[in-house]
Symmetry: C2
Subunit: 338 residues, 2 copies
């Protein structure tokens, strides 16, 4: 075990050239090397199974090939789709993505960023949703500053205002459009399963939805808050049912929550959509196989990941870039006329 690793020096020696030449041949530089030497180096590298030591390269070049990706929970389809987009772009660029999961703890986000900074990651995509909590916000901002200070780039998905490049889904507009579509189905009484009130994503979607209802001259919805998870949706729906709501249509601010809510409704014998219409937000792939198919606001999740990775990988100017992606209302079987 642990046979001496093959180093550039070894390759150089066996090929009978200098270290410099070997380096130039194997790791592309602007400098030309005669075909003969070049060949010799290439061949011996091949023969010895040489693989450059990435740490050494990173040290010497002062830049690594690592791209960070921070998500709350990789099993959540919302995040895994974004992750797929990010990894695709990163891998195409010859970079390696390091995955960090926060378990929805803001301090973990800060820790991860610091670790990524230690690794001199060249960029980071923050996919977790933003909190309005002041303390964690400012610590995060400080870490982001430290990170960019060091020459790293940061992009966020769905959380503007952090002074970084951002991919912003049309949360408010999507909520509003959805509300409008649902009122057009004839619903008059709505309820919303909102996420934790300190999450801006949840708040924006809710705000948009309320605005949409107002547009149609409809009374504001009852709002029940719950965790941003399937179980949170389940619990919130249970609470809603317990409150003897008279709503005929429920909007869950997240598909994942909607899935939980549908389970709750099913369990309580509330038929969807006959007794209750329900809609979500995101259009996670799982929705394809839900029965009844869930109405939602479609977001191009993988593409959002790709865009974020793109933003963070090409240097760009100094100004903060924001890419908006629109949500598209998709009405399916879970919402019926009323």
């Amino acid at each position: 075990m642990s046979a001496r690793q093959v180093t550039l020096a070894e390759v150089a020696k066996q090929a009978g050239v200098s270290l410099a030449t070997a380096s130039r041949v194997l790791n592309g530089s602007t400098r030309q090397v005669s075909e003969e030497l070049s060949d010799r180096v290439l061949r011996t590298a091949e023969r010895l199974g040489y693989v450059p030591n990435a740490s050494a390269q990173a040290l010497a070049r002062n830049s690594s090939s690592l791209v960070g990706l921070v998500v709350h929970d990789i099993t959540d389809p919302y995040f895994s789709c974004i992750a797929a987009g990010v990894t695709r772009v990163a891998e195409e660029a010859g970079l390696v993505v390091v995955l960090g999961t926060t378990g929805r703890r803001p301090e973990r986000e800060v820790e991860l960023l610091s670790t990524l900074r230690a690794h001199r990651a060249r960029a980071v995509v923050l996919a977790g949703s933003r909190t309005t909590d002041r303390a964690s916000q400012s610590r995060l901002a400080a870490e982001i500053d430290a990170f960019t200070e060091q020459g790293g780039r940061v992009a966020c998905v769905s959380q503007a205002k952090l002074g970084t490049d951002t991919v912003v889904p049309g949360n408010r507009a999507g909520g509003r459009a959805l509300a409008r579509a649902l009122t057009e189905l004839g619903h008059k009484k709505f309820a919303v399963l909102g996420g934790p009130s300190e999450l801006v994503v949840a708040r924006d979607r809710l705000a948009g939805f309320k605005a949409g209802l107002a547009d149609a001259g409809i009374a504001p919805p009852a709002v029940v808050n719950g965790a941003f998870t399937r179980d949170g949706g389940y619990a919130a729906a249970m609470e809603l049912l317990a409150s003897k709501t008279r709503a005929t249509c429920v909007f869950a601010v997240t598909d994942v929550m909607a899935m939980g809510a549908m389970a709750a409704l099913r369990e309580r014998g509330v038929r969807v959509p006959e007794d209750m219409s329900i809609a979500g937000f995101d259009d996670i792939p799982t929705l394809r196989d839900t029965v009844p198919a869930l109405s939602t606001v479609r977001l191009p999740l993988e593409e959002m990941g790709e865009i974020a990775a793109g933003l963070v990988l090409d240097a760009g100017g100094d100004e903060v870039r924001t890419v908006r992606v629109a949500g598209e209302v998709v009405l399916r079987a879970s919402t019926a006329h009323n």
Copy 2:
């Protein structure tokens, strides 16, 4: 931008101690340092916001804090669950996981392993399923050798015989137990939606299932192969239906395929379970919200990821370790008496 990064040397100078002392204080060594100096170093490091350069550490120590994780497709719940388990354990151990996705291309797996070797990752978890294709097998084996040669550890999930530590689900036993359970429901005529024939996981599950049918003295099932994905399941089910099968029960070797198959059945107006029973394998979390709830063989996916990470992280002896995890048949609404 790009304010000089804080180095150990800087901290040492400002604290008025030597580089060696600063290193000893900040990155734990066996050597003692007087409390006074130690304090001074700690304080200045804090003040300057010092973060050790991980590349430099890796280079000097000849060992990095990277753990590789190779999956086919991170959006597949099977893989994202395993990924969750792996990251949890790795993060607890203070390590960083780098995520590689192969898109089911064997050569990508080899590439990724090589990249991970370049980064001197201390360990890798290979979660992709194994192929019987000779060529790619041997190239993969060669890369694995090179990797372990360098002192890295490798563990596989669900693919024994590669000479590495392995977490092996009871694919065969699970298939067999499922077959038995289904025959007990009175079904006599079965069909199987098999994965690509070169995937050993698919073959094992199928073989077990056949064995189970044989146990019950039932004729071998019709087998339709398809890709190991939701769409593969959909296509295979369509093909099965087109063949005018007389089976009353279908086994899809993967939950994901089963989801696709259910969609196909639904589309064709075949009621589940009245007209056709269906069962899958894995028990991915999504199943909770499927209607009707899918019968399956439950595998502790996250736990499997944790186990794999555990195997790969504690040195262990030289012998190859294999941890078997049993599948548990879970009958739900998608399978009915016949």
